[in-house]
């Protein structure tokens, strides 16, 4: 069991190094097209204006029929028909048919090229094996529940040993299975999505490394080993956000994400030390065992410090600002790291050490209040975002806050249930959004529209995803979110909450959850309507994404739809009639409101109904500006002051010393006349002085 878990963790790790070192070599070994064909082509994301390099011509030879026919057949009749219905719309039909960009051809041929694509094989095959292993582990744990631990070795440190070991229980097995499944889908999807990218090899390797780190976090039996995985995830996130570092904004977003999560991680590490030193061991089982003996102050300090790391990693207020900017990374990265797995790691750690958090009133209160602020604020911010990925990013913050709220009201099972369901449906939403971006060439909602008929698979998958996000029965999100809302309701109304949680906070959480459900329904409806309904707002050949991208999306739609029924087995996860009714009413209110606004003018953005608040929401309540004023500017001023001190004080001192020694040397230089006889006179004088000195003194 432990061996299987260790193998599942090691496989992506080895795949990462193999992919990094041997990827292109494997391609050549398998007889793929010479790398020159892949070396051209523009990067995707903001920079993918891909008019096509030399590869466009070469690849269109093989797949000309595939790309051209659906493009022309799909678009030309549609705008004609719709223009009759709404003639006021700006329509793209007047000009010639926009040429299919080169990325279509590359994406379509990615599936055929997969058996010869070395980096993709190195990334996908170990991932598939790891998924199977995680599935075996999960099934075994499900059949025979219980905690299994295994230790490879103890690392002596002089005081408290670090156990290099794993700890598999139901929680870990479930989350690991979710991680592996999403990672596998993302790896397959990326093969097509990144087909044009010249750095695909390192991209796939970093995703493998990330997956290994996440599995280490999930399976780890020791807090410090967990922290290793935690940090490796952070650095992989940094590299992948900045994958298209040619754009200044992307590398800045990567640095921002890295710095802000690092800020939280400092607290996290110190929290681990406090907890570990207090308990006398770093192993999770040992810490949980000795928890009752720890003084209250230690537990409170440790959990509050851990919460800092959790807030950084899980993008909770006040450290959430990096997540919307992290959308600069490629979309599959956002799906894997910034939606399904890494940001869920914070929630997972809280659930893993739940006994410690439940024992501290301050930690639970802080967790609950942060969750309330995060979920409602970011849901409102999502309502006004213009970029589809940023909508989903704010939605991720909001949903993670729901999980945190579930933890705060004493329902860790519900929170983890929502974590897994959210991992499935948010990865689905991101990958489907990636398909939309791949086809339209833009992430902006106001350039989408009318994609329902052209992209049926994406449309239905995304509909399921949005339904799960909103919490409509019978898809997974309904069950998981209702478990949290029900738990919050019970905590508030019936007092069935952790002994340390104040009643007011419970009420606050309950009301905020209901409000969030309404706002979630509103922004999901807005994004859904603006993407798939109405008229196309920009010129692009409407077509379905490449098969290698639609398949993972369709495959993820299955768990996103059906995962909820697994919760029926546990009594605390069954829907509560009252809370379910309340949240459905709230969701309906939000969705209907947006629909009514949209229906008045389908061409406009429903967010226009927010009036002056729209700008505030779109900027995320100006938190970035506030941080810029409170933190960035003082730090910059301090840096400038340090620079000035360095230049005027330290540098000037060094340079001054140099100048003064040179001037002193200039005095000695006067004696260097070039007259040999003077030198000899000096020499003789010296000899005489020494001789006299010797004679006199001795």
């Amino acid at each position: 069991m432990i061996t299987l878990a260790a193998l599942a963790t090691l496989l992506p790790f080895l795949a990462a190094f193999a992919g990094m070192l041997l990827g292109p070599w494997t391609s050549r070994l398998l007889g793929a097209a010479p790398p020159a064909a892949q070396a051209f082509g523009t990067a995707d994301g903001a920079g993918r204006s891909g008019a096509g390099g030399p590869e466009a011509g070469e690849l269109s030879k093989t797949s000309a029929e595939d790309t051209e026919t659906p493009g022309t057949a799909g678009t030309s009749p549609e705008p004609e028909k719709t223009s009759a219905e709404a003639p006021t719309m700006p329509l793209p039909v007047s000009g010639p048919e926009p040429a299919a960009p080169a990325r279509y051809a590359a994406g379509d041929s990615a599936l055929r090229g997969l058996p010869r694509n070395g980096p993709a094989l190195i990334a996908c095959l170990p991932m598939a094996v790891a998924t199977v292993l995680a599935l075996i582990v999960a099934v075994a744990v499900w059949r025979h529940p219980g905690v299994r631990t295994g230790t490879l070795t103890l690392i002596p440190t002089g005081t408290i040993d670090i156990a290099l070991g794993l700890r598999v229980d139901g929680l870990a097995a479930l989350v690991a299975l979710m991680v592996c499944g999403v990672a596998l889908a993302v790896q397959l999807y990326s093969v097509a999505y990144m087909a044009e990218d010249r750095r695909y090899s390192s991209y796939a390797a970093f995703i493998s490394l990330f997956t290994a780190a996440m599995l280490l976090v999930v399976y780890s039996g020791d807090l410090l080993v967990l922290y290793v995985g935690w940090e490796v995830m952070g650095v992989c996130s940094y590299f992948l956000i900045g994958h298209h570092w040619q754009e200044r904004a992307n590398s800045r977003a990567a640095v921002k994400a890295f710095l802000i999560t690092r800020l939280g991680d400092v607290g996290f590490l110190i929290g681990i030390f406090v907890l570990g030193v207090g308990a006398g061991t770093f192993s999770i089982g040992g810490v949980l065992e000795r928890l009752p003996d720890l003084p209250q102050g230690t537990v409170t300090a440790a959990t509050l410090l851990l919460l800092a790391g959790v807030a950084g990693k899980s993008a909770q207020f006040p450290l959430h600002t990096w997540l919307p900017d992290a959308m600069a990374g490629p979309t599959p990265v956002s799906a894997l790291i910034h939606a399904a797995t890494m940001v869920a790691a914070g929630i997972y750690v809280v659930a893993r050490l739940y006994a410690a958090f439940a024992a501290s009133a301050a930690a639970l209160t802080v967790l609950g209040v942060l969750a309330v602020i995060s979920m409602l604020g970011s849901a409102l911010a999502a309502l006004a975002q213009d970029d589809l990925k940023r909508v989903l990013a704010y939605s991720t913050i909001s949903q993670l806050a729901c999980m945190a709220a579930g933890l705060a009201v004493g329902a860790p099972a519900a929170a983890i249930f929502h974590l897994v369901a959210h991992g499935a449906f948010k990865a689905l939403l991101f990958l489907a959004a990636g398909s939309v971006i791949f086809v339209t060439g833009s992430g902006l909602l106001r350039r989408h529209g009318g994609l329902r008929r052209a992209m049926p698979v994406t449309f239905w998958a995304m509909t399921i995803g949005y339904a799960a996000l909103v919490g409509l029965p019978p898809v997974s999100g309904f069950f998981s979110k209702d478990a949290i809302v029900g738990a919050a309701w019970h905590a508030a109304a019936h007092g069935e909450r952790p002994a340390h949680l104040p009643g007011g906070v419970a009420w606050l959480i309950c009301l905020a959850l209901l409000a969030t459900v309404a706002v979630t329904a509103a922004y999901a409806t807005r994004a859904w309507l603006m993407t798939f309904f109405g008229e196309p707002r920009a010129a692009f050949p409407a077509r379905e994404a490449p098969p290698l991208m639609t398949w993972p999306v369709a495959a993820l739609a299955v768990p996103a739809a059906l995962l909820g029924f697994f919760g029926l087995g546990a009594p605390e996860l069954r829907p509560h009639p009252l809370s379910a009714l309340l949240s459905l009413l709230a969701a309906a209110a939000g969705a209907v409101a947006v629909y009514l606004v949209w229906n008045r003018d389908p061409a406009a953005d429903p967010a226009g109904g927010l009036g002056p608040l729209r700008r505030v929401f779109e900027r995320g309540f100006y938190l970035d500006e506030v941080y810029a004023a409170l933190v960035v500017r003082p730090v910059r001023a301090a840096a400038r002051a340090v620079l000035a001190v360095d230049r005027r004080g330290i540098d000037a001192a060094v340079v001054g010393v140099a100048g003064r020694s040179r001037r002193a040397g200039g005095l000695l230089r006067r004696t260097q006349t070039g007259d040999v006889q003077t030198y000899l006179t000096g020499l003789l004088a010296g000899v005489v002085v020494i001789a006299v000195g010797v004679v006199v003194l001795l």
């Binding site: 230049r647 340079v655 001054g656 140099a658 100048g659 260097q672 006349t673 070039g674 040999v676 006889q677």
Partner: protein
């Protein structure tokens, strides 16, 4: 014979030689002064050889060595003087001042730190 006589003569000879080396302007005369100093040493060697009745006559042998070396040295010196004369048409020692430290360019003499970037100033400090 008292030891003072040859020693005083040698000291006088040596002093004359030192004076010649330090004060004469003509290179040939400087070389001759060097010879005077060498011969002062030779005189001492011979005198003390006799005075101490050295059985192996180390002093005299040493003197022969010195004479040979002096001959070689004067040959070399005269050759150099000849070349200098051919090049410069003069052999005045005090005018052969090519070994003088060249005065640096004016800008380097007084570096202006405040106006220049710190890096450039630091680099200059390294090379200086």
């Amino acid at each position: 014979m008292h030891a003072a006589y040859p020693v005083v003569v040698a000291a006088l000879l040596f002093s004359v030689g030192v004076y010649g080396v330090l004060a004469r302007r003509n290179a040939i005369l400087v070389l001759m002064s060097v010879e005077l100093m060498l011969n002062a040493v030779n005189l001492n060697l011979v005198a003390f050889d006799v005075l101490w009745r050295d059985r192996l006559h180390g002093g005299q042998v040493m003197t022969l060595f010195t004479i040979v070396i002096a001959a070689a040295e004067i040959g070399l010196g005269l050759a150099i003087v000849l070349l200098v004369f051919r090049n410069r048409r003069m052999i005045e020692v005090d005018r052969l001042r090519t070994l003088t430290e060249q005065t640096a360019p004016a800008g380097e003499e007084t570096p202006q730190e405040p106006r220049r970037p710190a890096a450039a100033a630091a680099r200059e400090g390294d090379t200086a």
